[in-house]
């Protein structure tokens, strides 16, 4: 009797083993879609409550007024130079210059940034630190590179071809009607092809951003570790009233 039960157990076990071997489910169907995180969803309270103190602290710091802008400042209000571009480049020249001087003993000659790097307009009215985060959300710093005259000419050629108002300060470029160079002045003096100039710019551009390949010819490289955004915050605080204008720093003659 015991033997018989054992046999039955074995038979059942074997039967189960084989019959259930194919039981493992296999992938047969996939369906995919995208769901919008829409404004009709109700926010989860515990998440809201968790974020609140972080948000309050940020708002406290960012929303206190540090300057005033009488008019809108945008990157689209000029052909080859704009109020927003001039503001940023002027701020960098004024505030990064002394740091470069104290570290190297050399003077910062001019500044070139990129038009695409201006991420927002500054609306007329109160200017806060938040404004600086809006125009410059990225963690880019100002670096200073030494460029020989030939690289400066390549830079001017790049600017002519780009036909964009890339922010400039400390340099004046006047083009003839046919896009040839009429005048280049740096720090108010005629451009000297044999001289090495110190150019302040964004680490993003020196690292290959916007294909500004002339930066590859750099002879010297100094990292100021000064965030462009912090330069803007410091500049707003220093100036109180922010009213940049478009001028003749980069223009094309129409004759």
């Amino acid at each position: 009797m015991i033997l018989k039960i054992k046999q039955i157990v074995i038979i059942i076990t074997i039967t189960c083993f084989f019959s259930c071997k194919q039981e493992k489910p296999v992938l047969t169907e996939i369906s995919g879609k995208q769901i919008a995180v829409s404004d009709t969803l109700i926010a989860t309270d515990s998440i809201e409550a968790f974020v609140a103190p972080y948000r309050n602290r940020i708002n406290e710091i960012l929303d206190s007024t540090i300057a005033y802008a009488p008019k809108d400042i945008t990157k689209n209000d000029g052909i080859l130079n704009t109020t927003a571009g001039n503001l940023m480049a002027d701020a960098v020249l004024e505030l990064a210059g002394p740091i470069f001087k104290s570290r190297t003993g050399s003077s910062l000659d001019f500044v070139l940034l990129n038009h695409g790097g201006i991420r927002s307009i500054i609306s007329a009215g109160n200017v806060s630190a938040r404004t600086a985060y809006e125009i410059m959300p990225f963690e880019n710093t100002i670096v200073v590179v030494g460029l020989k005259g030939d690289a400066i000419l390549e830079m001017v050629d790049y600017l002519i071809k780009a036909k964009r108002p890339h922010p400039l300060a400390g340099i004046q470029i006047i083009l003839n009607k046919d896009d040839t160079i009429n005048t280049i002045k740096i720090q108010g003096e005629d451009f000297d092809e044999n001289k090495t100039y110190y150019v302040g710019t964004s680490n993003y551009l020196v690292n290959g951003g916007d294909r500004m390949d002339f930066f590859k010819k750099k002879l010297t490289f100094t990292e100021t570790d000064y965030l462009i955004r912090n330069i803007m915050i410091d500049y707003f605080t220093k100036k109180n009233t922010i009213a940049p204008i478009t001028d003749d720093r980069f223009i094309k003659l129409d004759y």
Partner: protein, 302 residues
Amino acid sequence: MDRRKFITNTTATSAFIGLGGLTLNSCGVDTKKKITILHTNDVHSHIDSFPSTHSEFPGLGGLAKRATLVNNIRRENPNTLLFDAGDIFQGTPYFNFYGGELEFKLMSMLKYDAATIGNHDFDNGIDGLFAQLPHAKFKLLSANYDFTNTTMQGFTKPYDIYTVDGIKIGVYGLGIELDGLVTKRLFKETTYLNPYEIASDTERILKEEEACDIIICLSHLGYQYDTDKPDDLKLAAKTKYTNLIIGGHTHTFLDKPTVVKNSLQEDILVNQVGCFGINLGRIDFYLDSHKNMAVDGISITV
């Protein structure tokens, strides 16, 4: 009662009961399972919803609303996993002020299972990323970044395996080439390895050695480039075992997930849900014990 006899009898009885159970529930009846995969990419520190006045995304996004959506889906199907395809950091003052702490804490509260590493996740340097790791209760997966000689060494995994309702889901991570995109000073000694070769090796391990039922790639390569730069669509065409590529980096808004052929001419899915937490991707995997995949193939509906 003789003890041996009792045990034998019990075994026999159990076997009969077991047989009955198997016949009714398991062997005789079709076993169907459903695994839900939810995903985000390129959230870029967008913790708050966009303001209702925003020109592009009025009222959209926000972690607290995403939490509601995820919780609703988990309630509907507890067999749900949640992933992110990188660029968690950078884009709002939350990152500038707190360095990613809040992003990681909130993702942990939403019970993210894993994320891969995007180029912007290096924005405070590799040490800045490392400093936030204690706030992450989810894993960072990267198969093609070699972090030897960096602080991150030993703190990421190339892949992970999740067993959900008895189904094995293998997930691996791929990152974009950092050189030219991120300053060397930030990524330090991190070495980028060829994503195609790494993907091929990793999916083979997950399929052949780990016997995974579903294989998912979290990629921060980008959806598509005209050049020979590696992207998700080119990757998909080279894979054999990967069922789904969850992408990022290019902030690509798709009307629906893309169905593409892998190297075995089988259909697989590539998806990406734009950026800034505007959308949540949802992929449902259905498994069935009665259908024969080898004959029927996997049907994909988008």
